[in-house]
Amino acid sequence: MSTISGTGSAGSTDPGFAMRYSVASENLLVLAHIYTATAALTVGALFGLLQGFSRANFLALPAQFDYYRILTAHGVLMALVFTTFFICGLMTFATYRSIPRIRSVRLGWTGYCIMLVGTLMAASEILAGNATVLYTMYAPLKADPLFYLGATLLVAGTWFVAADILRNVISFGRNNPGKRIPLPAHACACTFVMWIIATVGIVVEMLLLIPWSLGWTSGIDVSLSRMLFWYFGHPLVYFWIMGAYLIWYNVIPTTYGGKVFSDSLTRLAFLLLLVLSTPVGIHHQFLEPGVSAGWKWLHTLTTYGVVIPSFMTAFAIFASFEIAARRAGVRGFVATVRWLPWTDPVFTGSALGMLLFIFGGFGGIVNSSYSMDVLVHNTMWIVGHFHVTVGGPVALSFIGAAYKLVPALTGRKLYAPKLALAQTWMWFIGMLLMSTSMHIAGLLGSPRRTSDVTYFGAAGAQSWHGEMVFAAIGGTLLFISVLMFVVVAVGTRLLNEPETQREAFAFAPAEEESMPTAPAFDWLGRWATVAVVLAVLAYMGPLHDQLSVRHFLAPGMRTW
């Protein structure tokens, strides 16, 4: 990296130099995360396209490269690799930038390397056809041990990243008694505390799966492993959303010269997400035998709690728009919308993502509504739903943020900004088309996770085909959009020269408030305790029930 040039020996005694050096090596770490995420997104998008084409009967995938193998790869690369690397990069960056100090990035790099090794292990097992178990890895489908080990390492690596972020936040508190944790760092700390609590579930599941796949244990408790997976699976979703919220609250206002609507309410939103993300996972198991209706009802109730931070966030975003517009002398809804910086791909990426999230929210209410889930469970509706949540708002906001991060980290101007802007619209239109068709196909009963849905021409399956064709067209637009993103992200580094004057990256300041933020909002340890207690309360009963009935352990098999 050109920014590290000047590593003279004189530097070691000069604090200014040490700081510059520290920032340069920090930038490299963040860039590594972002480019790894980009690579995962690119490969994942190619597989997504092939899936869309297979379901629309445009092509039949060969046996050496079968549908379920690439579906496993798509799910893992998108849901676990792309998102996790991007969030680790983004939040490492947000913590480092809002807590400037001379620091070692060794912990951060250790995390990154472990994540990368884990990803490569899992990915090669998937592509070799030894782990066609989809990203949910439902037992008793039994993958090669290296796949489970790789997934475990991916998660273990994030714990180092979490430790790095929390270490910086704690040291800030020690060195600045009485001062508030900077807002972006507060959001990152909430996110990673939540993440640590959530990932305990998947790691415990891995402790059951790994010895079993090695043949050391003879059977697996299927329903217990499913409960552990979904204990992790739902907060995984909130991990993604919190990454997008960090961008929406703290970065987007800078694109129109605005501010964070409220410091205290932003902190509260992240704290609520921290405590409400975990005690809800059984809403993914509504249609499962072995879990009683009462526990399912309880998790419906807790799931609905997320309406508070969601509504707070929607309010804060619009309030920030409106206040900034008024300061600029603009009033009224239409005038404000027009005034917003639609030519800036950073803004437009997130703004279009927010629009998609409105659809996602409505769909989510249906899915989480207990008996209503019967209509949509395991149909293409669900696939439509998570593409219009993680695939829309989250991925598009991340891409938009990359248009600010990559120039800031490489010290170069954004390559082809018009292409970047077109990319965000292309994604939006492609996603709208793909996801709407998937939602409709789902309501008509089309099952998800299925390579071909013609069922030998059965009458009940005929109405699905048209929707699958539209979805494949939407998927094509999305794939092209991903290629456009790659051109911009890679072009910025390779085709543009370094600028002499580096563009500064600043997070949005917060509006002045009449009342100071309550100190309790920074007592993260206590909030973490509340989160753990709620998770224990929500899972105590269901787990007790699971463990107290007589179980038949499944030996496991390879059915692909």
């Binding site: 379920y68 008793p140 399912k296 969601s310 996770r449 299925t450 069922y455 030998f456 009342m515």
Partner: protein, 155 residues
């Protein structure tokens, strides 16, 4: 911390909406018994074919005029094949798996449940429209998952 009046109204609206939803599904559950399939009953997946009534998969008429259908799911098919159901019959399906996780879904009817080895799933439906219904496995179960389907004929 100060919360604006308009934000209070907005949050109250959100919470009220959730309260209405919760009240609706709770009433449906308590009064009409509409709950997601949640049978808690175990079975040894290795001995399904010896465990009555799964040793004779198929439709059974009960004394009160309603029906029970016993289904076994395994890669990559369902047993029985081609179930024939009289029009107007109220059928409770009992489904279990001998190997991996499967799904049991009849689109257009609202019949939809997961099938987990070691457990018996139940779901009921009254067939009021004649026709040939498609039964599909809607959970990935292996290389032949897209072939795992059958028919239920109502007449």
């Amino acid at each position: 911390m100060h919360i604006h009046r308009s934000e209070r109204i907005w949050l109250t609206f959100g919470l009220a909406m959730m309260a209405v939803f919760l009240a609706t599904i709770t009433t449906a559950a308590v009064v009409d018994g509409i709950v997601p399939p949640s049978n808690v009953q175990t079975i040894d997946p290795a001995k399904v074919s010896q465990t009555p009534p799964f040793d004779h998969p198929g439709l059974h008429k009960l004394a009160n005029g309603s029906y029970e259908a016993y289904y076994v799911a395994h890669i990559f098919s369902f047993e029985p094949h081609h179930l024939s159901v009289p029009l107007g019959a109220h059928v409770t399906f009992y489904v279990t798996s001998t190997d991996v996780e499967h799904g049991f879904s009849v689109p257009e009817t609202g019949i939809n449940t997961m099938v987990t080895p070691g457990w018996v799933s139940t779901v009921s439906h009254t067939f009021t429209k004649p026709g040939k219904y498609l039964l599909v496995c809607n959970e990935y179960c292996g290389a032949g998952h897209q072939l795992m389907a059958d028919a239920i004929e109502v007449r």
